[in-house]
């Protein structure tokens, strides 16, 4: 069957996947007993991704992210629903489809443990049939970019976690894939390399139109993505632009104020919610309009105020609240 896709390179419709798992019974001898149950890893997932998008896939541990990725890659068969990736049905056309994919899964290395990383790179060259000149050029580029000059000829088992992650990334993109899935790509990676890795990802996305799905628990990594998809208990509980997630629980600012002496806190509390009150200090959450309110700005300009700063609501805090509400609300597209 030929590939059929126009703009949406991934379409996931009503995908469900459950696993049989067990819990140990009560202690003592009876702990040998197993209480079997079905875990609903994916519970009706729907979304689509357009070519060239960079999407961050978020979710707590056990929310179904890895299962979703493995299903998209054709490793797992969904129990229900359909998936179309680059015009292929993943679990039927896996071999053809993964030629166009680059995947870094944190728990599943592409590197050969007993050999130097360069051997894994060479294996990838043959597996993906990359011409030698293109291979050498790309290898040189990524090795320079990620400072792997002293690393890639060493046995993988002697490399640090960060070095392995960087080599894994290189192994996954040497064939210049159209679509890349990165599971925790910056875990264990040092700061300069993390920055270089993020720049490389952005450049691939910007200049070559490579589509990315990035799963991460690091807020700074989220900033690469314009679109956020949040999974919880196997369901999409948020799908939309990052700025919409940032303001999902209302567009609010965090205000930190330092005083010479304790002010009339009640007067401040009329303008927003007090988060923290200390000695000559106040932290509060306010709506953006408050910051231009004449009454409020005049209070801030009084002599009693030593200093103040305004920051946006932290994305991490918003995510925590989103997880806490567990999909009672959904937003985005």
């Amino acid at each position: 069957m030929g590939r059929v896709y126009v703009m949406d390179i991934i379409e996931v419709n009503g995908v469900k996947k459950q696993f049989k798992a067990y819990e140990s019974g009560k202690g003592g001898f009876f702990s040998l007993r197993r209480n079997w149950y079905y875990k609903h890893a994916l519970n009706g997932v729907n979304f689509s991704i357009k070519k060239g998008e960079m999407v961050a896939l978020l979710g707590k541990n056990g929310s179904g992210k890895s299962t979703l990725i493995k299903t998209i890659c054709g490793i797992l068969h969904p129990d229900e629903g359909t998936i179309n990736v680059l015009g292929f049905r993943p679990w039927e056309d896996r071999v053809k489809m993964v030629k166009h994919l680059g995947v870094v899964l944190g728990a599943h290395s592409q590197l050969i443990w007993d050999l130097p990383a360069i051997d894994s790179f060479r294996l990838m060259r043959h597996v993906y049939r990359v011409p030698r000149s293109a291979f050498e050029k790309r290898l040189k580029y990524y090795i320079g970019l990620l400072e792997l000059e002293d690393v890639y000829k060493r046995q993988v088992r002697t490399l640090s976690l960060g070095e392995q992650m960087k080599c894994n990334f290189v192994a996954s993109v040497l064939h210049a894939p159209e679509f890349v899935i990165l599971d925790e790509p910056t875990i264990g990676v040092d700061l300069p390399s993390k920055q270089a890795l993020k720049e490389a990802i952005s450049k691939m996305n910007r200049e070559s139109g490579v589509t990315f799905i990035i799963t991460t628990h690091m807020i700074e990594d989220l900033m690469m993505a314009e679109r956020i998809l949040v999974l919880d208990k196997g369901q999409v509980i948020f799908d939309g632009p990052r700025h919409r997630l940032e303001t999902f629980f209302g567009d609010e600012r965090i205000l930190n104020i330092k005083f010479i002496e304790d002010p009339d806190y009640k007067a401040y509390s009329k303008y927003g919610r007090v988060l923290q009150r200390g000695e000559n200090y106040l932290k509060m959450k306010v709506k953006p309009s408050v910051l231009t309110d004449k009454g409020f700005t005049s209070m801030l300009s009084r002599n009693n105020v030593v200093d103040y700063s305004v920051s946006e609501q932290e994305l991490g805090v918003t995510l925590m609240r989103l997880y806490a509400t567990k999909g009672k609300k959904t937003a985005g597209r």
């Binding site: 493995k70 068969h77 053809k96 993964v98 944190g106 043959h126």
Partner: protein, 267 residues
């Protein structure tokens, strides 16, 4: 379906290289492989001496020595570690990394198994065959070598099919080492590497020869020993060929079924 030959060839070569990463361990395995038949020789010497017979199942003590040296050779000439590789792949989640590559998983594990096979064949089987051709009473003629080569090819195909079939059980049961040990033991009885098949009663021999296992040890051994007629050997070859023809589609369909059952292991 287009077969990615460069991909499988690279997998074969890389596995070969990975095997060589631990040279001391590898040397110890070779010594063990060559030393193992000495234990069998001690056992059968004791059997002959205590029973005071000159022949058992038509074999003299010298024939028995030759037979078990041949078994040592055949254990590295016709073998496969696909089942073990699959068990490890599933338990450690490495099957996920394999499935992310544009290669067929059965052909990947076959490439890896052939890589391991080449190492043992070159470093153990060929030297043993050369040594044995001088010290043992082998019926080496162009015709027996021709039959032996056919048996080896058929045996290799069959053992890989069987090992792949047993390896798929890892997808359901995850830890299959005890199960695999059991299959190896049963195989070693049915193929005649533990006890020569002509030691069994006639009716049992007749049944065993209809099974796919004799090609894995008994038939190639008696071919080189020249202890059975060509018609028996040819019948065994045809029977094996038939088994292979039947097993290839069955194992393929079985794999398609088991592939759907691959679960989420290791995140």
């Amino acid at each position: 379906m287009e077969i990615n030959i460069p991909g499988y060839w690279a997998t074969f070569r890389t596995t070969l290289k990975a095997w060589m990463a631990y040279r001391v361990d590898y040397a110890l395995v070779i010594i063990f492989k060559i030393g193992l038949p000495l234990i069998m020789l001690a056992v059968w010497t004791a059997v002959f001496l205590n029973t005071n017979v000159l022949k058992i199942g038509g074999f003299t003590l010298t024939n028995t020595y030759s037979y078990f040296f041949l078994m040592s050779l055949l254990s590295v000439a016709i073998w496969s570690n696909i089942d073990y590789t699959m068990g490890t792949d599933v338990r450690h989640g490495a099957i996920v990394s394999s499935l992310l590559r544009p290669l067929s998983y059965p052909l990947v594990v076959l490439s890896k198994a052939l890589s391991s096979w080449v190492i043992y064949f070159v470093t153990v089987a060929i030297p043993l065959l050369i040594i044995m051709s001088f010290v043992a009473h082998l019926a080496i003629t162009p015709y027996t070598l021709y039959l032996f080569a056919i048996e080896m090819v058929l045996g290799l195909i069959l053992i890989n099919l069987l090992a792949f079939f047993f390896g798929t059980f890892a997808i359901t049961f995850i830890w299959v080492d005890p199960f695999l040990s059991m299959t190896w033991t049963v195989e070693s009885v049915l193929e005649g590497s533990m006890i020569p098949l002509n030691f069994f009663p006639a009716y049992a021999q007749h049944i065993l020869m209809l099974l796919p296992f004799p090609i894995l040890a008994y038939l190639p051994a008696v071919t080189l020993l020249g202890s059975v007629s060509s018609s028996v050997i040819l019948k065994g070859i045809y029977t094996t060929a038939l088994w292979i023809v039947v097993m290839i589609p069955l194992v393929y369909l079985w794999w398609k079924r088991m592939y759907k059952r691959i679960g989420s292991i290791g995140g």
